[in-house]
């Protein structure tokens, strides 16, 4: 009797190495694959859970400053270099990949108020409380040489901020007025004033490079054109804006960080109403920086948290905090869109991942495909309550949590009161004012 045995050649189904991927012949007929939605839903749920498990955004803390970090500057040509200035007038250059300080120099007496790297990356400017603008070489001085600035400009008043032109040897400072400087001259080539006030920050538009924006202490944001002799327009808000940042990919949008816990994105052509109000912070927002892709921005707040907002959403997609981080004063988004750097009151600079759950380093093609797929799944099933619940959950420090709750209650109460007033007054006499319109007082031409 002959016994027939079912046998298969292992060569047909065993991989030679683990990298060897065999093509699996598949029949894509949908009738053969029932429960596709259910299966994908499970996958999406798992991906979401794993994302939360792997969300470890904090990378490193750079310590070395002996006072609070007051300002930072990205190097324009090197990703691994960071400059930071502290409240005791010290400037430090950091190597981010090694997490170490490369160079330290005593730049000013008193605060270092602002810092900017020249577009070519060979030198940088600092302004301080000692009423000086100093230009420094990026390279460390050779042995025996002292730390001397390349150039020093003595001003009459304190400068509170500085920014450099994108392509030319021109920079702008702010203090009692906004000045435009030529690098070759010791006096400003142009200075703008509009009322007597002090300015807290000035920023060049990175796309339309001749335009500037500045925040003044009279609660206004003023726009300038470097080529014109007078400012362009001014919008006065209910509270003061601390800083503003232009979108590096969309020429006419900028976002300002306001004292009223919100951020406002404006279209510079229509200042009457912000395009969007970004809420979530529970204390004054001190700094804001756009991601180089122009899709998101990060904000630093007095409430000891960092938040990441998508540029077209009213609420943050991410909140970062650590126990030891105090008021975050300055924030930067690295030029490769991967990291976030925050400088805070307690003398540390912290390095964060821009995407909390992202794997760093080079991904193999299969890994990348898997990541893309899971990302797509999360996006597809984002409205499902389970997935939504898990993906939106964040841990908050106790005080921030309670404060946000309180704020919510206050807001609700205000809303209710307004509604009641409207209900009991003559129709039309109490108009409905949208959240966007609430915060703008006037636009001055």
């Amino acid at each position: 009797m002959k016994v027939k045995v079912l046998s298969r050649n292992p060569d047909d189904y065993v991989r030679e190495t683990k990298l060897d991927i065999q093509r699996v012949p598949r029949n894509y007929d949908p009738s053969l694959h029932p429960f596709e939605v259910c299966r994908e839903y499970t996958r999406a749920l798992n991906a979401t859970k794993l994302e939360r498990v792997f969300a470890k955004p904090f990378l490193a803390s750079l310590d070395g400053h002996r006072d609070g970090v007051n300002c930072m500057a990205k190097h324009t040509k090197s990703l691994s270099t960071l400059l930071s200035g502290s409240c005791d007038g010290e400037v430090k250059l950091w190597n981010l990949s090694k997490h170490e300080c490369v160079r330290t120099l005593q730049a000013h007496e008193g605060f270092v108020r602002g810092m900017v790297v020249r577009y070519c990356g060979t030198s940088f400017f600092t302004v301080g409380d000692d009423k000086t603008i100093k230009q420094w070489k990026m390279e460390a001085p050779s042995y025996g040489e002292g730390e001397e600035p390349l150039n020093t400009i003595l001003g009459k008043t304190v400068y509170t901020g500085i920014d450099h032109h994108q392509k030319e040897g021109v920079f702008a400072t702010c203090g009692q007025q906004v000045d435009i400087w030529d690098e070759q001259r010791s006096t400003p080539i142009r200075s703008f004033t509009w009322g007597v006030d002090s300015f807290s920050s000035v920023r060049f538009n990175p796309v339309e490079t001749e335009l500037l924006g500045s925040c003044a202490s009279d609660r206004s944001i003023v726009l300038y054109d470097m080529r014109e002799s007078a400012p362009l327009k001014k919008v006065i808000m209910t509270m003061r804006s601390n800083t503003l940042c232009w979108n590096p990919m969309e020429a006419y949008y900028f976002t300002c960080a306001n004292e009223d816990y919100n951020l406002y994105t404006y279209d510079m052509r229509f200042l009457e109403k912000p395009v969007l109000v970004h809420m979530d912070h529970v204390s004054a927002v001190l700094d804001v920086d756009y991601s180089p892709t122009g899709k998101e921005f990060v904000s630093a707040s007095f409430d000891k948290t960092i938040r990441i907002f998508a540029k077209d959403s009213g609420h943050s997609r991410e909140v970062y905090h650590t126990k030891r981080m105090q008021h975050v004063i300055c924030i930067k988004w690295s030029a490769d869109n991967k990291y976030i750097l925050s400088g805070s009151d307690e003398m540390n600079i912290r390095l964060w991942k821009a995407n909390a759950a992202e794997k760093l380093g080079v991904l193999s093609p299969r890994e990348r495909e898997a990541v893309n797929y899971s990302q797509k799944l999360k996006e597809k099933f984002q409205h499902y309550p389970q997935i939504r619940r898990i993906s939106h959950h964040r841990h908050l420090p106790k005080n921030v949590f309670h404060q946000s709750k309180e704020l919510r209650i206050m807001k609700e109460a205000r809303r209710r009161k307004e509604r009641n007033v409207r209900k009991h007054s003559k129709p039309g006499s109490v108009p409905v004012v949208s959240e966007k319109e609430k915060h703008v007082v006037t636009v001055v031409k």
């Binding site: 598949r26 894509y28 949908p30 694959h33 029932p34 429960f35 596709e36 939605v37 299966r39 994908e40 996958r43 859970k49 498990v53 324009t76 040509k77 796309v207 339309e208 054109d225 014109e228 002799s229 007078a230 400012p231 362009l232 327009k233 990919m249 969309e250 020429a251 006419y252 510079m268 052509r269 979530d280 180089p292 892709t293 899709k295 077209d312 959403s313 943050s316 997609r317 909140v319 030029a335 490769d336 869109n337 495909e369 893309n372 797929y373 797509k376 799944l377 597809k380 984002q382 409205h383 499902y384 309550p385 939504r388 619940r389 898990i390 939106h392 959950h393 964040r394 841990h395 031409k445």
Partner: protein, 783 residues
């Protein structure tokens, strides 16, 4: 002396003003006024003028005279420069107080002289007059603040327009499926040496000479790959154009090769019959073309005719069909005995005869033949044109369907026979109505008759859209009926319907995709982080998270995801079914003969005015015994009762007292052991008499269900279809998966992303122009 000098100044200014008045009066008047005032002041002072001054004046005058005399010697230049007559009056040293003392010189005083002189152009005169009439003062300049405001406004407008140039790029980037950063990436690989060495310069005189020669002849200097001419030619054709061109060429080549291979294959076919048929077809086609050509382009037709004639002549001259060949001879011998051979020979003879005849006559013959054939072709039955009874909205039962229709098939098969029956049935229905009490089965049969008639009417309707709008089951039946009634027209009809269904589907899908894309931007607005004090430490902790919206949804729940799944497949199946129905007709048509329906108009069709009333009446008759409302109420009652908790009787007969046949437990006991459960919460539909709200809800499923339509979607169908289309590689091909899961933003590891540069704007403009051009070109090609 100071006075004197002043006077001189005034004199000079006067002189000047008088000179100026000729050409620009407006300015001059002002100046003159000023001067007058000065003069007035001076007049008083001029009283005590010393003798020294007089002498000076005399000397001056003498000198003037001398100069004039000298200039007069030249002869021609007799005319002196303009005299200052009025000034002289005032300046006179003796009559200090002149006539015009204290009077202001007016513009009119000055103009008077001009009006008299003919040399002054009329235009200037007119201008002066208008000026005289105009007494308005010039407006004072704006305040500094106002001025600055205007300046700011203007410069803001300028800046705003400048910035708005970026709008197209910004919208484009927002819509883009994928953005790759950094934006302006240099193409990798070695650069052409030409670009690398642009900084080099010729040093020695010999080199310089050589370079001068090269550049003069437009030769490549730094050993580039392309000469300027070549570069120019390359530039003339952009990459996109080249690609389009190549694609076209490829297509043309492919078509040619297909054609060639086809021709080769056909040539190899040995079957004579095939060729005969083929030739016949060709001939027919040619003739058709020729007919058209006669109408459209007579000259070309004539040429063609000549060609044909030539071909005929050639064939005639050749020994073909002359019965002189080997085959013909053998056939001629065989013809006596064999019928086939005889017919073959006859055929041959006929061909020969045809050839020897004139071509034109043969043509006519064929035409006649065709004309004879035409009446033979079948005529479409007239009922195609009958008015369609639209879906009656007044009839609430119309949308419902009958419980079962066993006779449907038979009826569809024997459609032709049954067509006439309904009319009679309708009459009988009236009679029956009078009787009043009829059995339900009979009613149903009647209804079915109506139904079938309705379907028939729909079937007669040619519009495929109308067919689409009908209920599913009706739809399928329609397909069959249509197939029955007109086999020729329905095929196109059905395919149309199918196509429309498909296109509908695709458009819907596209809409969804668009909606998705648009919505993505706004979708996050609602998404707020759910911040709490719980820190997740593992996968297990996630189960503990509170649900963001735990409130029981008030809305009626949507079908769960797992149920959503079949809905799409159902749709697909529907399509398939429709198709099947159409295929089925092939089978049916074979056995059924086309019966010409007598075009006797039915009662409904002929009397349009009475039609509706009749319809209503019919429906009322039809559903006379049907009490839908009471049925519904019964149904509701049943549901309510089912939901009510039952009273549980726990009495045990014989427990604690005597039991047995005929002995019931005492009332007290019964009351004691009868357990009444607490009444449930009132039903949601208590106050809604015409609604049944089902309260059966599976909470374990609802935990995984979306309970409100997410933002970017408009309809449930859209959302369901996006959810139902799988993404993974288990259900899609590799390429599709790659395409679908492409991330929205990709960045390069370790590359600095620069802000958008001005070049981007130029690039965009160029692309736009190229795109426009290409579209224009393609349009041109099409036309």
């Amino acid at each position: 002396m100071a006075k004197v000098s002043k006077k001189k100044v005034s004199k000079k200014s006067l002189k000047k003003s008088s000179e100026v008045t000729g050409n620009n009066e407006a300015v001059a008047t002002n100046m003159i006024y000023d001067d007058d005032e000065k003069e007035d002041d001076l007049d008083g002072a001029d009283v005590d003028v010393s003798g020294e001054e007089d002498e000076d004046g005399e000397d001056e005058r003498k000198r003037q005279k001398l100069l004039e005399a000298i200039s007069g010697l030249g002869g021609k230049r007799k005319k002196t420069l303009g005299e200052r007559s009025e000034a002289a009056v005032q300046m006179c040293e003796f009559t200090v107080t002149s006539k015009g003392d204290g009077e202001k010189i007016d513009l009119s005083d000055l103009i008077e002289t001009i009006e008299k002189t003919p040399s002054v152009p009329a235009k200037a005169k007119k201008q002066l007059k208008t000026l005289q009439r105009n007494t308005k003062t010039v407006e004072c300049p704006l305040s500094k603040q106002e001025n600055e405001r205007i300046q700011r406004d203007v410069s803001f407008q300028k800046a705003a327009t400048e910035v708005s140039r970026w709008k197209s790029i910004i919208t484009q980037n927002r819509k883009a499926e994928q953005l790759v950063f950094p934006l302006n990436q240099e193409p990798s690989g070695p650069k052409p040496i030409d670009r690398v060495v642009t900084g080099w310069k010729a040093q020695t005189p010999l080199e310089q000479e050589i370079f001068a020669l090269l550049s003069a002849n437009k030769q490549p200097i730094n050993d580039p790959i392309l000469t300027p001419f070549e570069e120019a030619s390359v530039r003339a054709m952009s990459l996109e154009e080249a690609k389009i061109r190549r694609a076209e060429l490829q297509k043309a080549r492919a078509l040619q090769s297909y054609y060639e291979s086809k021709a080769r294959r056909e040539k190899k076919i040995k079957s004579k019959k095939y060729h005969k048929v083929q030739n016949k077809v060709k001939r027919k086609e040619f003739l058709k073309e020729f007919d058209e050509m006669v109408k459209m382009n007579p000259a070309a037709a004539l040429e063609e005719l000549n060609k044909m004639e030539l071909a005929r002549m050639q064939e005639r001259m050749s020994l073909k069909h002359q019965n002189s060949g080997k085959w013909a001879k053998s056939k001629a011998i065989m013809a006596k005995y064999d019928l086939e051979a005889r017919t073959a020979i006859q055929q041959q003879l006929k061909v020969n005869k045809d050839l020897t005849q004139n071509l034109v006559s043969s043509l006519k013959e064929e035409e006649e033949e065709e004309e004879e054939e035409e009446p033979g072709t079948e005529v479409l039955p007239d009922f195609v044109n009958d008015a369609k009874q639209p879906l009656d909205s007044s009839n609430p039962w119309m949308s419902g369907k009958l419980s079962e229709d066993p006779t449907e098939k038979e009826m569809s098969e024997t459609r032709g026979v049954t067509v006439e029956e309904p009319i009679t049935v309708a009459h009988t229905a009236e009679e029956e109505e009078e009787e009043g009490d009829t059995e339900k089965t009979e009613e149903e049969a009647l209804l079915r008759e109506f139904d079938s008639r309705r379907k028939l009417r729909w079937a007669q309707e040619a519009d495929p859209a109308a067919v689409m709008s009908v209920d599913d089951d009706n739809d399928e039946d329609d397909g069959v009926i249509v197939a029955d009634s007109k086999p020729s027209a329905e095929e196109a009809d059905a395919s149309d319907g199918e196509e429309e269904g498909l296109s509908e589907f695709t458009s819907l899908f596209r809409g969804i995709v668009d909606g998705c894309r648009e919505g993505k931007a706004g979708s996050d607005t609602s998404a707020q982080l759910n911040e709490g004090l719980v820190r997740i430490k593992g996968v297990g902790d996630m189960e503990l998270l509170p649900l963001t919206n735990e409130k029981a949804p008030v809305e009626p729940q949507h079908p769960p995801a797992s149920e959503n799944l079949p809905s799409a497949t159902k749709k697909a199946e529907k399509n398939r079914k429709r198709k099947k129905g159409i295929e089925l007709k092939d089978v049916l048509t074979k056995c059924t003969k086309v019966i010409k329906v007598p075009v006797t108009p039915t009662v409904e069709d002929s009397e349009d005015a009475e039609d509706k009333v009749d319809q209503m009446g019919l429906i009322k008759e039809a559903f006379a015994g049907d009490d839908v409302v009471s049925d519904f109420l019964k149904d509701k009652k049943k549901q309510e009762n089912a939901g009510k908790p039952k009273v549980v009787d726990m009495t045990l007969p014989g427990w604690g007292e005597w039991g047995g046949i005929g002995l019931n437990p005492s009332r007290r006991k019964r009351r004691r052991f009868r357990i009444k459960t607490t009444p449930p919460a009132p039903r949601k539909d208590v106050h809604l008499p015409s609604v049944i709200i089902s309260e059966k809800r599976n909470s374990s499923i609802s935990f995984h269900q979306v309970n409100s339509l997410p933002f970017p979607f408009d309809t449930h169908a859209q959302f369901e279809s996006t959810i139902c289309s799988p993404v993974g590689r288990t259900w899609n091909t590799e390429q599709t998966v790659k395409k679908i899961t492409k991330p929205k933003v990709t960045t390069q590891l370790g590359a600095i992303i620069e802000p958008m540069a001005q070049e981007e704007l130029l690039k965009n403009k160029k692309q736009m122009t190229v795109r426009n051009n290409s579209t224009v070109d393609s349009l041109k090609r099409k036309h």
